[in-house]
Symmetry: C2
Subunit: 95 residues, 2 copies
């Protein structure tokens, strides 16, 4: 069976809950790589999650690819301009 790619969206939950989600995903199925996606302030959390998973738990993982980009977000209520927000995608894969 070929290996699948999974995506985990990093938001404002505690860092360790994403770490756990990734470990579970890698160990319970035929997932070969996981893409962590985050934007804005959650970018720091995404880097923390990737580093904790690799350094403390799954030492055979490597960072395959890191992409940064910009997304246009709809204006908040009361504002009339769209906002630009930075995004990051970190791909973790088995070596």
């Amino acid at each position: 069976m070929s290996e699948k790619s999974a995506t985990v969206f990093i938001g404002s939950k505690p860092t360790m809950s994403y770490v756990l989600a990734i470990i579970t995903s890698f160990s319970s199925s035929n997932v070969g790589e996981i893409v962590l996606k985050a934007r804005g302030r959650a970018i720091t959390t995404a880097v923390d999650v990737a580093e904790i998973v690799r350094n403390r738990f799954l030492k055979d993982l490597k960072v395959n690819r890191i992409k940064i980009a910009t997304e246009e977000m709809p204006a908040r209520e009361g504002e009339n301009r769209t906002r630009m927000v930075s995004t990051v995608e970190i791909t973790l894969a088995r070596e």
Copy 2:
């Protein structure tokens, strides 16, 4: 003359002051690439800076390389354990 590499440390100043420093550095000297280094919460700022420079000002730049890592920081006063902090290095270069 060969092209040089410069390093910009991203901290807690306003995003646009780093953007300006990078534009100045690229346009006034023989700098061929700039490495943005940040840790902790400044990681988000570093991604913002890279995206703003590339999308709004110097459209011929590309992101050559992004590295993430973990650094051990000395304990804060009153704490007795070192802290681990995530770091990022984003290399911007002329195409």
